[in-house]
Every structure is written in C-alpha cells, then in structure tokens.
Amino acid sequence: MKYTEDHEWLRAEGDIVVVGITEHAAEQLGDVVFVELPDAETQVAKGDDIVVIESVKAASDIVAPLDGEIVAVNADLADNPGLVNEDPTGNAWFFKIKVDDLGQLDGYMTEDEYQEMIS
C-alpha cells in the first residue's frame, strides 16, 4: 500500500491500482453525505480533480494520483456515502485505475512515512 499527501491510499492489483482515502482523512472530513464519482472508462491525468466528497462540514476534491484509465468506480458510495466513515480502507474504495507504468507508484509514501506525516 502507498499513500499520497492528499491522504489517498493506493493498492496495486496487477496493472490496476485501487484508490481510496485513509482513515485519518475520513475522520477529518466528518460524516460523509455525498460522493460524486467519475465515469468509468475515462482517461485521467495525475492531478485531475475526479471525485467530490461532501461531508457535513464542506466539499472536498480527490485528485487522480496517477495517469491512466478509470476502469471501475464504487457505485455503493453513491447510495451509501457513510461507508467512507465506516470502512475507508476496505469497502469504501473510490475507483480503480489502470496504469501503463506502475513505476508511477514509486514516488508515493510508504505506510510508515504516511503515519509520520500525520502524526
């Protein structure tokens, strides 16, 4: 598992990377009430705003952490946004992105580095 400075977690499964937000991020956001996901089969570039999360406090964006193609989005989140608070690193994944070059992951933090950043 790798982590971004925007509090995303990235889990590689072959050439597909599953993306969600960390428990720390979910806690900071508070109760999530709305999630807007991108369409599947969309080409995205690293840094694009592709997900909107609205909590009881405010709206925030999630950016694409990698260049690639969105191959799946988690439709459960549209009906049950609270899942983000209940199970942020499991059932509440946001999207799966197919990447050409897994080497893009190398620049991101390890679990230890991420824990240090938020401590």
Binding site: G30, D31, V33, F34, K57, A59, A78
Partner: protein
C-alpha cells in the same frame, strides 16, 4: 487578529473531547466525539446541551421603573409589538435600519421590571451601542457575568425538571426565574432547533456545575455548533449573516409573521421604527425577492453561494445549504425573485459547473415540536 474569547465552559468542552473552532470571536465547540450527524439525531430523539454563552444577554432597565417606558422605547428600534408582550413572555424581533434591512435578529423577554434581549454574538457590540444610543430613558446593561445554555429535544423537559421542577410547567416562549443551589436561573422555553426545550441563563460561576449535572443524565449529550446549524436549517430558522443581514428586509426574509398588527399601517402604534416606509410598502405590494426553502434532487448539497436559475434566467442565490440528517436529504434556503417563490417551482442550481434540479419548498423542512 484579536485573541479569541472563551466562554466559562471552555475547559469543560475540551475535557469532553470537543473540536474547538473560531466562531464570532470565540473559541467554540463545533462537534464532540459523536460527530455532527449523530449529535443532530441525538437532539431530535433525546436532549442536547448547547453552550451559547457567546450570545449577548442585555438588560434594558427603564429609569422610571415602569416597564412600559422601556417597551415604548424599544419599539422605536424594532417593527415588533413590545408593549403587547406580557410579563413572563418572550418573542422574536429584529433591529431594522433606515432601508428596512435587518441589523440583527433577537429574542426579547418581558421580565416584569425590565426587558431582556438575547442577541447574536457577532452583532452584540454593535447592538449594545445601538440600544444605548436609541433607548432614551433606559439603562442598557450587558450581562457578561452570565452564561447561556440551551437544552433542546423531546427529553429536555424530563432532564431539566430533575434540577428545576417548575420548568415542566412552562410553555413555549414563557420566561421565568428559578433558584438552583443558590444561583438565579433565568429560563425561557425556547431554542433554535425546532424542538421543545429551554434556554437557561445563569451566573458564569455556576455554569459548569449546572452543565455537568445535566450531562450526567442518560438523556443528555453535549452538542456542538455543527449540529446546531443543521438543526436550525431543518427547522427553517435564519442564521444572521447568512440568511438575513442589513441588505435583507423582514418581508424579503419571510419574517412578516413577527410584525404584529399593532405596528403595521393602520395599527394602534403604526410605524415609528427605522425603515417603516420600505417595510410597509413591501407588506402591501410584496417584496422583489423572497426567502424560500429549496430541496435539491439527488444527494448533492447546494451550499451557500449556489446560484439559482429558471432556464437561462438567474433568479436567486442559496444562503444556507447542508445535508439534513433527520430529513435524510440535502436542504437549502435562499432568495429567489418573487415570481419564482411559489412552493413547487422547479429551478436549477449550479453546482461545480453543472445545473442540477431543485424545487422550491415550504419551511420548515420538518414540523416543529414546540410545547404550546
């Protein structure tokens, strides 16, 4: 930036695990451990305790000793009948400016030999100056030595009655004094959540002890400003500075119910408050725009600042918007051109560049639960 002020309950909030944020010049609890959503629902089902000590409590004492002199003077600042406010009763009012705009909204109580005004925290210095300058023959006294707690929800009566048995006999908008362990409590049966409940003014020195006595009860949890905001929005109540301000009139704000007949054109004490001409004209012919409830379709909240359209025509702006935990849907309020203000009118709100459907709705979004 000036240093943030603290209420007498600051240490208690921190000990309870509150997340403290700046609000109207104070460090206030926005939420505790439960989080905004659960705190909101707790208040609707049980009883929530809110620290609202940042609000201004101001006594208006007539130098003549005759309360009607204070009431008469107060009527020069508000379009509301204060002479008609009976002893032991409270009502909603607003200070207006010469253009009919709202300088602040407030509660006024007739406490036998004086009036008590409870005003918004962000406005209290200006309000005190306004009252001091405008209330001839009265002494205007800020009660900085008193805290203010709100206990709200269907179990508020049960909880309060354990400490103050007489509280159960009050009805909505009654005010009365009680003694608790030698401290003088000024209690009103009111609040800003749409629920039954009380607002309790008490000496700072006793406030922590009293709050702890309530929090020790199974029915009562501490609730932060986050849930206070979603509760008041579901109840259709205005937040000063967002939904009403010096640019909005009581008629535009759909608050004309607060202007009694006696102060309207043809009434016994017609006019005599700032902006009466503008407000009378709007009462008779309608205002160009109107505050309305708005129910977005789907789950995306339309927050303050969302622009509203009917086709290509810009017709208004959202002033408050959030997810309603009891409504289980997003809800907003805002101003629209009067011809689009009718309940059921379909509009669109622009959220992140996309036009999404929204319908004009009646306020409040859910029925109030006051003990009348």
């Amino acid at each position: 930036m000036p240093e943030l002020k603290r209420t007498p309950l600051y240490d208690l909030h921190v000990a309870l695990g509150a997340k403290m944020v700046p609000f109207a010049g104070y460090e206030m609890p926005v939420q505790y451990g439960m989080g905004v959503m659960k705190e909101h629902l707790w208040t609707r089902e049980h009883a929530g305790l809110f620290d609202v000590s940042h609000m201004g409590q101001v006594r208006i004492i007539p130098k003549s000793g005759d309360i009607s002199d204070a009431a008469r003077a107060f009527e020069t600042l508000v379009p509301v009948s204060i002479l008609g406010l009976k002893e032991g009763r409270q009502r909603y009012a607003m200070f207006t400016n010469a253009h009919g705009g709202i300088l602040d909204d407030l509660m006024v109580a007739n406490r036998s030999d004086h009036l008590l005004a409870v005003v918004n925290a962000a406005c209290k210095e200006d309000d005190i100056a306004h009252m001091t300058a405008g209330l001839a023959g009265c002494s205007v006294e800020s009660q900085a030595d008193r805290a203010l707690l709100a206990l709200q929800g269907p179990q508020a009566e049960t909880a309060l009655a354990r400490l103050v048995p007489g509280g159960a006999d009050m009805r909505f908008m009654d005010v009365a004094d009680f003694d608790w362990q030698g401290a003088e409590l000024w209690i009103s049966r009111s609040g800003y959540t749409g629920e039954d409940g009380y607002e309790i003014s008490l000496p700072n020195t006793k406030s922590v002890e009293f709050a702890e006595a309530l929090l020790a009860m199974d029915e009562v949890e501490a609730i932060g400003l986050g849930a206070r905001d979603s509760l008041r929005l579901e109840a259709g109540l205005c937040l000063y500075g967002s939904d009403i301000d010096s640019e909005t009139t009581p008629v535009e704000a759909a608050l004309e119910w607060a202007i009694q007949k006696a102060r309207r054109r043809g009434g016994d004490r017609e006019g005599g408050f700032p902006g009466a001409d503008v407000i009378f004209e709007q009462l008779e012919n309608g205002a160009p725009r109107r505050r309305v409830g708005l129910l977005p379709e789907g789950r995306a909240p339309m927050r303050a600042g969302t622009e509203l359209y009917a086709g290509e025509t810009h017709v208004g702006t959202v002033t408050s918007g959030a997810y309603g935990p009891s409504l289980e849907a997003p809800m907003s309020m805002g101003y629209v051109t009067t011809e689009y203000a009718e309940t059921g009118t379909k509009l669109e709100g622009e959220v992140r560049g996309k036009r999404l459907p929204v319908t004009v709705a009646d306020l409040p979004f859910r029925p109030s639960n006051y003990k009348r």
